[in-house]
Amino acid sequence: MRRSRRVLTIATTQGRDLLRRHLALVMLASLPALFYLSVAGQHIRRGQDPWNLNVAVIGVAWAVAGGAFFLALSSRRIDQRLLLAGYRPADLVMGRLVFLQVFAFIIAAGYSVLFAVRSPAAAGPLILAVAVTALIGVPLGLALAALLPRELEGTLALIGIIGVQTSLPANLAAAPALPFYGPVKLIRTSWNSHGAILPYLLHGLLAASLLLALAMVLWSRRSAVHTPATAATTTAPAN
């Protein structure tokens, strides 16, 4: 109970922080639409690469991962202080994850409706692809914020990962190493009406789980408070 209250407080704090950034909120919510509309007029047929849908999912990935990355970075400056006050590293990560995942699913739900209306034949796997993208994007942003806590480096890494995801053909051997491989393949499968969905769904869930584990470990290490209880009995060797 005590733990869940702490997680809820962190989630609420993260929510207040984002909801007061009005312009950022509008931009995050509209980013996938801009991606989608930029290629929506292109005529595609079954058997061709569903480029517009790929782009739309990548737009959701940008919005979710980018939002998680920058929000986590902005909160990071008081993490050690919160830990010193009594929070545990897992409270901070889980609290942020809870809020950001809810936010990501709200964006995903909105765009799922849009995509499903425009491409009803592929609606099921398409909705699944967008949902899995939201599931992967949040821990990706959190992990990057812990791994590369400086804005420039982290942003460049985010551009690199999602940019390569956009440009790398999904049939190459290296493609499964990228986090959004599952959703991209789900879209292709749904569009061409053949192939199994389950392997790509599992790939997406595995990617989300690994990224979440990575984020938890990195945040715990990065924000660690070495309580004097430990320091008192430890004499580290001089460098």
Partner: protein, 230 residues
């Protein structure tokens, strides 16, 4: 020896802080060399020294935010830490900060607000202000910063130049509060450049400038004139 775990019962022993032989290097640069400090319940200690002498580093090591290369830190009691730069979130109001930090100590929002407003009133902060932190004046941000360190009645207060931006009245009031915290049996450690106030602490730790570290270790002397050896 007690760990810093909020929500746990107060330590059976009195609050105390002991730092022995602490050294810290950043790469090739030595910022602290064999620093020592000891304070027991009811004592205030000032850490002074030139810019770059390692005052903030020493305080962060005491708080557990940095690991020393050598030496030991022993703390009895819960730590309240006030960083030099206000560790607050720009888009949260004062009350939301109190609720956030209060929850870390398992205080309900009502308890956190009650305790926080009392502390803020002592610091002459306009209680009930709904302004977000980014729109507070520098002095009021610093008051919030200090109030968050005081929330939960920590036993060992580690304060890094906590009065920056305070108006004169609040600054004077701050040192009166230091006296009150001492009398309440708390340990108070203040990083300060205000040498005129060193008479109001029990001990002063003077850290040598970095260029003299090898030949001159940290000095410890009494703060209050009446306690200085003749």
């Amino acid at each position: 020896m007690d760990s810093n775990v909020p929500g746990q019962p107060r330590p059976a022993t009195s609050p105390a802080l002991t730092v022995a032989g602490v050294s810290k290097r950043y790469g090739r640069r030595t910022v602290l060399e064999a620093a020592c400090l000891r304070a027991v319940a009811g004592q205030a200690v000032a850490i002074v020294g030139e810019n770059g002498a390692g005052k903030t580093t020493l305080l962060r090591i005491c708080a557990g935010l940095l690991v020393p290369d050598t030496g030991t830190v022993e703390v009895s009691g819960r730590i309240g830490y006030c960083p030099q730069d206000p560790g607050v979130l720009d888009l949260l109001t004062v009350d939301e900060h109190l609720e956030l930090f209060g929850r870390a100590m398992d205080m309900s929002p009502q308890e956190a607000l009650l305790a926080g407003h009392r502390i803020l009133a002592e610091l002459r902060f306009p209680v009930g202000d709904r302004t977000v932190a980014s729109r507070l004046s520098g002095g009021n941000r610093q008051k919030l910063n200090l109030a968050l360190a005081l929330l939960g009645e920590a036993d060992v207060l580690l304060l890094d130049e906590p009065y920056q931006g305070f108006d004169y009245g609040t600054y004077v009031n701050f040192w009166d509060l230091v006296d009150a915290w001492r009398q309440a049996g708390r340990v108070v450690v203040v990083v300060t450049h205000m040498l005129a106030e060193l008479t109001r602490v029990d001990h002063v730790v003077e850290l040598p400038p970095p260029r003299r570290l090898a030949s001159e270790p940290a000095r410890l002397f009494a703060g209050r004139p009446e306690r200085r050896p003749r």
